[in-house]
């Protein structure tokens, strides 16, 4: 063994790269936590603001019964009728709505359906979208092309209109809280599934070409195993981002549905969009207190969600991250999304021309966006 050098320490350490070869704990590797840890300066501030707003939203939704002074459909306290459109007072801190509800209570309770819609819509769409994207991207072929065209077509259709149609189909307009939530959620997921599909599919197409997938094929892994063990988990990189952006889209779509008369029945739940749309005529009559609280609630929630989403995006993209390490210039194929749609931010590279080569690639290319 004289001539064969043993693995010597200097070499090992010198090439360990900037990442310390230490096990980072699971907690620290969780998406958002990891992002907070790696962010700095303004980027961190924006992320933290987003997280705080998001937490406030979640806490409000969870503890609405404790936080709200009255029930969402309460018209009177004791024997005293609140009355309609009463200005803020000691009894009703933010006044009452045209329907005679307490504005503050409804604004607090309103976090609930918004939250539920988000959760249900995202759960419904993420599984379907990811599964379809995985299968479609992995196997390719005609099924893939057809799915891509369908997804693109649905993507092209104004989501709000689709939401209305689906809302009508599903429940004939909303009634109970769950009916309303489900209708909004299902209609949203119709619009969101194509987004998850596109993103995951694009990632799968990218990951599929990676050497570790090839190496799995070489050792003879079956398709299921490759998809499940190697491709899927490596294709979920952009999901947190799309997820938060979709959440804000969900809140806005719910508001839009409310405006167009498809909000949740006020005695079933408090719905910001519904309340906001009801208060539009108050605004022109100088009654500000009915419109501002639900409006601000919507804006802040969307702001929080979007800030988190954008920050995740910036941090995931080495080109956008502040103070990235020099070696971090790994050529990720950066798929990012804009609110309401998915976008490529790909730096035009040599490889993109190859994608324009033929019909398959046309689809590939679109799938990226």
């Amino acid at each position: 063994m004289t001539n064969l050098p043993a693995p010597d320490a200097t070499l090992l350490v010198a090439h360990a790269g900037p990442a310390t070869p230490e096990h980072t704990s699971l907690w620290k590797r969780l998406p958002v936590v990891r992002h907070v840890r790696t962010s700095v300066g303004l980027q961190r501030t924006m992320l933290l603001i987003g997280i705080v707003l998001m937490l406030v939203f979640i806490v409000t939704a969870a503890f609405a019964p404790l936080l709200a002074p009255y029930g969402y459909a309460q018209l009177s306290s004791g024997d005293v009728n609140f009355g309609s459109q009463q200005p803020p007072s000691a009894q009703n801190l933010l006044g009452t709505t045209v329907g005679g509800y307490d504005v503050l209570s409804r604004t607090i309770w309103g976090a609930r359906p918004a939250f539920l819609v988000i959760v249900v819509a995202v759960t419904l769409s993420i599984f379907a979208g990811v599964a379809l994207g995985l299968v479609s991207g992995y196997f390719g072929g005609w099924v893939d092309r057809v799915l891509v065209v369908i997804a693109d077509a649905l993507f092209a259709f104004p989501s709000l209109l689709l939401a209305i149609v689906v809302a009508i189909v599903i429940s004939g307009g909303q009634s109970s809280m769950w009916g309303g939530v489900m209708a909004a959620a299902i209609s949203l997921s119709v619009v969101m599934i194509p987004q998850y599909f596109r993103v995951v599919r694009a990632e799968v197409v990218r990951v599929k070409a990676e050497a570790f997938v090839e190496s799995a094929r070489v050792i003879g892994s079956g398709h299921l195993r490759i998809m499940g063990r190697h491709v899927l988990r490596n294709s979920t990189r952009t999901l947190p981002l799309i997820l938060t952006l979709n959440c804000s889209e969900a809140v806005l779509t719910l508001a839009g549905l409310g405006f167009l008369g498809f909000g949740i029945e006020p005695t079933a739940a408090a719905d910001w969009g519904y309340d906001l749309s009801k208060s539009l005529s108050d605004v022109t009559s100088g009654i500000w207190w009915t419109a501002v609280p639900p409006g601000v609630a919507i804006v802040l929630t969307v702001l929080g969600l979007t800030l988190v989403g954008e920050s995740l995006n910036d941090l995931a993209d080495p080109r956008l991250r502040t103070r990235r390490a020099a070696k971090a210039a790994v050529p990720l194929s950066p798929v990012t999304a804009v609110p309401g749609g998915v976008a490529t931010d790909r730096v035009p590279g040599v490889e993109s021309i190859d994608e324009l080569e033929g019909p398959t690639d046309l689809f590939d290319e679109r799938g990226d966006r």
């Binding site: 063994m1 004289t2 001539n3 064969l4 050098p5 043993a6 693995p7 070499l11 090992l12 010198a14 090439h15 360990a16 790269g17 900037p18 990442a19 310390t20 070869p21 230490e22 096990h23 790696t38 700095v40 990676e210 050497a211 570790f212 090839e214 190496s215 799995a216 094929r217 070489v218 050792i219 003879g220 892994s221 079956g222 195993r225 063990r229 190697h230 988990r233 490596n234 103070r323 390490a325 020099a326 035009p348 590279g349 040599v350 021309i353 080569e357 033929g358 019909p359 398959t360 690639d361």
Partner: protein, 565 residues
Amino acid sequence: MTNVVDITNLHVSFATDAGTVRAVEGVTLQVAAGEVLAIVGESGSGKTVTARSILGLLPETALSSGTVMLTRKDGSATHDIVTLRGSDLRDVRGRDAAMVFQEPSTALNPVFPVGWQIAEGLRAHRKLSDKDARTQAIDVLRLVGIPDPEHRVDHYPHQFSGGQKQRIVIAQALVLDPGLIIADEPTTALDVTVQAEILDLLRRLPQEFGSAIVLITHNMGVVADLADRVAVMFNGEIVEQADVRTLFSSPQHPYTQRLLDAVPRVGGRRLRDRVRVADELEAMVVDESATPVVEASDLRIVYPGRLRQPSFTAVDGVNLAIRPGEVLGLVGESGSGKTTIGRAIAGLTPISGGSLKVHGVEMLDVKERVFRPVRKRIGFVFQDPATSFNPLLTIAQCVAEPMVVHGLAPNPEEARPRVDELMEAVQLPKAFGDRFPHELSGGQRQRASLARALILGPELLIADEPTSALDVSVQARVLDLFARLQAELGFACLFISHDLAVVDLLAHRIAVLHRGVLVEEGTGDEVLGAPKHPYTQRLLASLPVPDPIEQAARRETWRNLRAHG
């Protein structure tokens, strides 16, 4: 002679997430006018950072101290770059010193014509009409050897070949007539044959334009070919500076010695011989009569064309055989079809014609079901160790994967003893099994990759450029290990590389591929010692050898060959 650049006690550190990284520590360096200084050293030793400091091109997170005095070519002005800011700094950039980047394809803006891009540098420093700018651009394009420059000046980067792109990048630097050209690995991204051309171009710059060159490279052959003086960097410091001949003949610093020792040479001592001597292994005799593990006859592989694109024949009528225990080296320039053949043998790319038998299974129209049992007997080592591991699995899980897939272990944990065994065989500490791929260095990852390929005890290993992504010194270790394991385990191997020297180290026989056609095959001595095919000759001649004197001679041969070829 005056110094174009005079660096004294340069320190550079970076603020990163993980704290401060010291990249350069107390570098002192001078480059005289018209001189070619090569900076060598292992990856991460601070070469690029030093070079960029000369132009003040460090990112905002960098903190530098010391002085970098840069003198204009005509000697009219000298500036300390470290303290220079704003428009003063811009004034110096490009005019006093210009940079040639490593990747020509990323250094050129894809959406502007090259002429415009060349003129941009001119426009940044003086007012001139579009017409003048264009004339100058054409002139400089002609100078760097772009044919038909009047016409090509309006072309876009993607319309040029890689070598031409690098010429354009050099033209961009030249057009401002700087006193110093900094070339950071200018040929790493290029094929050997193209590299030779670019080196030829670079070599003429000092003589004909009087520009000094700071050349950063990993390739000791390039250093031998081009440099007047060499600075060796290690861990952010310059550990040795010497005249090129001195350095090659009598390296002083241990690191330099190790570095030079690690460089593979064509016709040098074969690794497999070394291994045998060291471990007293039996010389492995390849049984010529045994049934080949891989047998290709008239193999054709065609990539189907799409949408009015003709289909592309990547491998055209190749005959080859690999016998048990034999290492077949496959060389050829980029795009010649090496990988395609390797993938076909591993069943990753379907073949379109001829016959390819792998472990007796005919690969033409083979069914996965039929081929699956054969997969157990094939190992594959990929080029880039960084991407060939699933980033979410630990090394042990990755290495155990073949056993789980083939039902030899119910889960990665059960396979652990065997995994540890192999980790030991590839000289990795067992504990590394619990790390994630990104927590290993490139060389370590490639060892792990080898372990994975060998875990099922394959009779055939396909290694596609297993070391080309690695540093010279790391490469040497991996190759050593490879040779040792091959000698010990006696698997047959298809060893793919574009580096003749590497192939020569390991292979029993060498096959040379040129545009999908096998042009020459034989033992290392036959093919590399006395190449018959002109392509092989040219290939060999374009390979710079890490010896300044020998390289000077080879350069002549190459020029002649090119003149006639």
